[in-house]
Symmetry: C2
DNA sequence: GGTGGGTATATAGGTTTCCTATATGACCCG
DNA sequence: CGGGTCATATAGGAAACCTATATACCCACC
């Protein structure tokens, strides 16, 4: 419904040149409003753990972070009591990270805060635009998976 | 067209809980592949300057960065010859930053690289999904403006 | 049953990207 | 022409990453 051309090439160009930039602007704008309880990466990691416990390397792959970065992140979250580290019974090298009850609480609180901010922000958007954003969020998930598979190959 | 609920509340929640996280994952994935010529923030700033020259404070507002951060960024870009600093004739306090010819070149090169990566990544997406992403990129722009106005008020 | 190559995590150390607080200098108004 | 305000610059530091490497465990094979 916009005037932008809808050929694949044009759409790809638009996404390549604007999506990343705008996403990071949006992040700075939202983070600026004193959330502070969880960084966006910490929130992402805890969200992934909601599903089920994961190994450090699994987390590194899905979050697109280097393995030592995840170790550090888990250190910090563990010190705050938000995640639990357990060694696997079957393989002594493996660490299984799971979210703790208070981790769930904290994540919920941060999400509620974000939701409130987002509710304010989307007030000016039409229903169709908002639905578009929601759909795009899901599509982004698929795009990320496609990229991750390409990296592993 | 997806199975996700389309009430405003649900869409808002989905966007709030997934968009930021996924966007930053995507950024890490794309930046990992050795772009290095320009950081995403530098690219964003140069893109803004394509339009017309801007003051430091203007740039800080549109890029959602603190003013000293923009001064630093412009320092670095100026040393590399990608932007030009000029003092305004009418007001001795203001600095007008504009993009240089070689800044345009550099930005084009980086964008071409990003386009190529993106072309690969979106290969697995359907036409409608890609169009959705493109539309969402534009909607994000509007969302950001809404947030910025709220900040200024 | 111990040695060696591969795998999972941890540690060390450094870089980049941002921030806050404050200094400097130019404008403007009484 | 002094005092407040506005635009930029400087100083210093924090956060979120990274690479390179160490440690500890698994497993297969002789």
């Amino acid at each position: 419904m916009t005037r932008s051309a809808h050929t694949r090439a044009d759409a790809t160009d638009l996404v390549a040149t604007t999506l990343l930039t705008r996403a990071s602007r949006l992040t700075r704008l939202l983070m600026r409003s004193g959330d502070r309880e969880l960084s966006r990466t910490e929130a992402g990691l805890l969200s992934t753990l909601l599903d089920r416990p994961r190994r450090i390397t699994e987390l590194a792959a899905t979050e697109a972070l280097a393995q030592p970065t995840v170790t550090q992140l888990v250190d910090k979250l563990e010190r705050r009591g938000l995640v639990v580290r357990e060694r696997s019974g079957t393989d002594g090298r493996v660490v299984l990270v799971s979210i703790s009850p208070s981790g769930r609480e904290r994540l919920d609180a941060v999400r509620a805060q974000l939701r409130a901010q987002m509710r304010e922000a989307v007030r000016e958007l039409g229903d169709d635009e908002l639905a578009e954003l929601a759909a795009a969020s899901e599509t982004l998930g698929r795009l990320i998976e496609a990229l991750q598979q390409r990296v592993n190959a």
